[in-house]
Symmetry: C2
Subunit: 609 residues, 2 copies
């Protein structure tokens, strides 16, 4: 061993002992005839003191930033202590030193506030990883993984590895494929998730399975998507939805405790998908703050049973609202005194292409009880007051209203709420609020093919009460315009998403375990029997031999870590991430392969250019 | 939840309580008016008793093997207890039952001694996994993994995930490659190991890294090789060989304790590679038994410094020995009274193509002190005695001698020793003997290219004392015939293998961490600077920025589990293994992909009919 202690270990109790350390030179400071060096390793930083007697040797062997150094010396009490670091009471009076390896000058500083840009740090990721900020993220990731494993172990889950070289079925996203040399002309696919394998393990009676496992999706990368990502993948036998919810809120609470020392004692809230869409405009609401949406107007075929209050805004010939499918209001708490500049900025914000609104109506609910709006010429003060009351806007609030087509407007209202939440400091990094979203629709309508697609995946069971509807009806959509009237449009899934601070961190479902229902599902998705057999024959077969009721969940491990770490970017929590073109710029991959490889795999390029 | 207890949980203390169980029907036995059912889940088996009152319902809903059943009833004390199972004191008197799912008749019995052949069980792996024998293996695998994680955690190792979509460098085996859609014409490779990434993590200062991780090799599969396999992959900073040996024999001892409840208190033996080859004929000797080899004759250029005793067998005009490069003897303990049939069988055994000897010479060292051999007409009794003494054969032993070309003969002698060890019951499944094999040659000679190849991999450091030799000499082999005289032929690697019961379970090395030495290594392997830069530029670059001394090891997780489980086959310890053609016959992969996929990936098939 090149050391007796680490750089984070020595304390005043070690005074006068002789020790050997090894690490990296963080800084070199020369004061007259003595030299101070901060020596760094994973565990901390220790100050080294080179006295005058070593000057000649230091001159012959000058130290530089990031040199690898081994030193032996005596632990001294420091004259001026540093309370910011655990080793701050001591320093090492060096007697001998050895440069184990040199370093050329790094392209950026190895500090929390580095001067390195994103691209440079990606290319020299091995140096970026030395920075404390990145190291903390990977340590947190390890802690989350360990906490997860401990909790699941204590609850009788078994880690069982599933294969990586599987079969391309292309449900959902695109598969990465792997040409097989031994089976020329055929390909493996890399798993998008171990879904069917974990279900088979339930059929095999393994009862409780988990894996922290890499998954792969060949998608066009949006910011913060990675072609390979990690899931905490779980499945249980003989359970109903309630069992899963309790088991896995337990997991997340345990992670809070182990990793953040947070006792999450609140009841985890639950909300139906429809309520989430109605109240927050999206299916993963951030419930750390209120500012719920008010649906002033909505299309007649949606949100059946909700009260129509559109009379509040109609009848004054305000075309923007009259012609809009949907009108939604958000009350920005305490913002009634926003200046013209501020309301203009908000208007510009909703008009950005990402949000896509044509404009923004505001109503200032002044503290003195009066109202002032951008639509004063259409609405009397009494009308403004009525609208404000319906939207739960109190004196001092600023009511913001967007209008347009249902889907876009609802999303815009949600985006606006989130934006305001951030602006008003209501989305606190160190506050955590969990939420279950339940009762998703089982199907979505795919216009281009005039057929159903699975909202979650084809293995999700309908709610028990909807199984009859599904079995008893023909999935064919005869009248595309009226697809919403098809019985399948109202089937709810036995599915659940776990939402943390406005991010979906996990999702799952109770699965179909009956062969007939699974076949009906495949058929609903447009798969004929031959295709069903080709892609999922093994699963349909397995369901014939005593498949138990089962269900599960998968958590996005990268995302979970990034939220716990208070970051927007999952890339910060991955040791060697890829960029938005799916490239690892450090190793320069992907790259060309040689002729022999093409030859052996019996494939060739077919470039369109 | 579909149950209140598992099928392995109920005891006599639960007598008279009402419980609900769910599981699979193992057996149905009808005795007159009552019916016994063994209900099975992952945790055990519980006997159910259906009394006469349920007969009508049972007739209407007959139970069959592997049906999924939910039952509620009262815990009864059994009249005739079954001491073979933990629940054997009780039975459940059923009050209500529900068939949760039916099963058609399985293609083989779900029992330890199944009637299913290998192919059938692979196709219906989900049923095979229900068998207790297979379940035990996967439970053992999970226990080994958990023990590993706990030990490494306690020793400050961090689990850090490395990428799966990397770059093809084809050092050693063939890479599996993955066409990149977003970077058309380019390919990722799946990692053969995380080798360079774990080294980068050391350069980044992570100090102690581990991962239990899938690796991939596109090799022609021999029996018991899998295209995807799992490694326990570890790396440490600031260590020398001794530190690694101690840390990881600690790991294996911990696994013995946690998984097998074995206190492995013996000192772990160590042996040089040369000694292993000399004494056992291979580099992973099984030291559970003696029967060391005796080198009666060996080529002059090998095993320098060992005593030449070939005069013992020469000078009698026995051409088989005179013309052989190598003659090696093994003394089979206590076998002097083998019959002609038995010695003939041994002769046939060494003549099998896998062993490849032309024949076998034997000398019976009779209990009465006389000798009888298959070469009596060449060797006097005195000569036979001298040979037997040199080979440590005692009265009662049977000395077996093979002769031929060095490499094949040494391997044959080793194979013969192992075969005899098995035949004589000296290789006990439940006895475990660890061994470190050290000081491997750094290079092997590749005749076809007349160059060096790395015996371990190109990142292994030479022994400190050999670094000068490596740096100071030109790797070019000018005279192919005399490559053994090249200074590189004698360079020893700073590498180590851990051997358990004659199997290599792990191997590793102290790594090169100096840029110049790494470049010299690449050059020795025939890589010019451009190729070095293309393939490993990132690593050479990293070595310029303060790379610390480091080393590591990787264990073959599948193999380790199979040995601990007392099996020859790793396939038994993998949930979803592939067959010898690299196929998953259950899901039928690899398989064809569709035109759209080819189109998007911009590749096409190039089949050589």
């Amino acid at each position: 061993m090149f050391r007796t202690h680490t750089c984070g270990q020595l304390r005043i109790a070690d005074k006068d002992t002789t020790v050997t350390l090894a690490g990296w030179v963080q800084t070199v400071r020369k004061f007259g005839s003595i030299t101070f060096v901060d020596l760094r390793d994973r565990y901390g930083i220790t100050q080294l003191l080179f006295s005058e007697s070593l000057n000649a040797e230091l001159d012959a062997n000058p130290l530089g930033r990031e040199f690898v150094l081994q030193v032996t010396g005596t632990v001294n009490e420091r004259s001026n202590k540093n309370n910011n670091i655990p080793t701050g009471d001591i320093e090492l009076l060096v007697t001998t030193f050895k440069i184990l390896n040199k370093s050329i000058t790094p392209p950026f500083t190895i500090q929390d506030d580095t001067d390195g840009g994103d691209d440079l740090r990606m290319k020299y990721r091995f140096l970026d990883l030395r920075r404390n900020a990145v190291k903390k993220n990977l340590e947190l990731r390890y802690a989350v993984g360990r906490s997860t494993r401990n909790y699941l172990h204590e609850n009788n889950f078994m880690d069982i590895e599933t294969p990586f070289l599987i079969k391309s079925t292309q449900e959902g996203a695109r598969d990465f494929v792997v040409p097989s040399r031994m089976n020329a002309g055929q390909f493996y696919a890399l798993p998008q998730s171990p879904q069917t394998f974990k279900q088979l393990l339930m059929v095999s009676g393994y009862d409780r399975y988990y894996q922290i496992v890499k998954c792969f999706r060949d998608e066009d990368l949006r910011a913060d998507r990675q072609p390979e990502f990690t899931q905490i993948d779980c499945e249980m036998c003989f359970v109903e939805q309630e069992d899963i919810l309790q088991m896995f809120e337990g997991l997340v609470k345990r992670i809070f405790k182990d990793v953040k020392n947070i006792d999450y004692t609140d009841v985890v809230e639950r909300m139906t998908w429809e309520n989430a869409m109605w109240t927050y405009g999206n299916d993963k609401p951030d419930i750390r703050f209120e500012m719920k949406l008010t649906n002033l107007k909505f299309p007649s075929h949606t949100f059946l049973g909700q009260q129509d209050i559109s009379s509040l805004i109609s009848g004054v010939d305000f075309k923007v609202f009259d012609e809009a499918e949907t009108v939604i209001a958000v009350a920005a708490t305490g913002c009634s005194e926003y200046t013209r500049k501020q309301t203009d900025e908000l208007t510009e914000w909703v008009k950005r292409p990402q949000v896509g609104m044509k404009g923004l109506v505001y109503i200032k609910c002044n503290i003195d009880g009066t109202f002032k709006s951008s639509v004063d010429k259409f609405y009397s003060e009494a009308k403004l007051k009525a609208i404000a009351e319906a939207a739960n806007a109190k004196a001092g609030d600023l009511l913001l209203i967007v209008a347009g087509a249902e889907e876009r407007t609802r999303k815009a209202a949600s985006d606006l709420r989130m934006y305001l939440g951030s602006q008003l400091g209501l989305r606190k990094t160190e506050e955590f609020k969990l939420l279950w979203v339940l009762d998703f629709p089982l199907f979505e309508y795919a216009e281009e093919d005039n057929r159903w697609v699975a909202r979650h995946h084809p293995f999700t069971s309908p709610k028990p009460s909807d199984i009859e509807t599904m079995i008893g009806n023909d999935p064919t959509i005869n009248n595309a315009a009226e697809y919403l009237k098809h019985p399948y449009a109202n089937i709810k899934a036995n599915a659940y998403d776990m939402v943390l601070n406005g991010n979906e961190i996990g999702g799952g479902s109770i699965r179909i375990f009956q062969k007939e229902l699974q076949q009906k599902m495949f058929a609903a998705l447009g798969m004929d029997e031959q295709e069903q057999q080709h892609k999922f024959g093994f699963l349909l077969g397995a369901f014939e031999y005593g498949a138990p009721p089962h269900g599960g969940i998968a958590f996005g491990f990268d995302r979970l870590c990034s939220i716990l770490g208070g970051s927007e970017s999952i890339r910060d929590f991955i040791a060697f991430p890829k960029n938005n073109s799916g490239r690892d710029v450090m190793i320069d991959a992907p790259s060309t392969i040689d002729d022999k490889q093409f030859d052996e795999l019996q494939i060739k390029l077919d470039l369109k250019s």
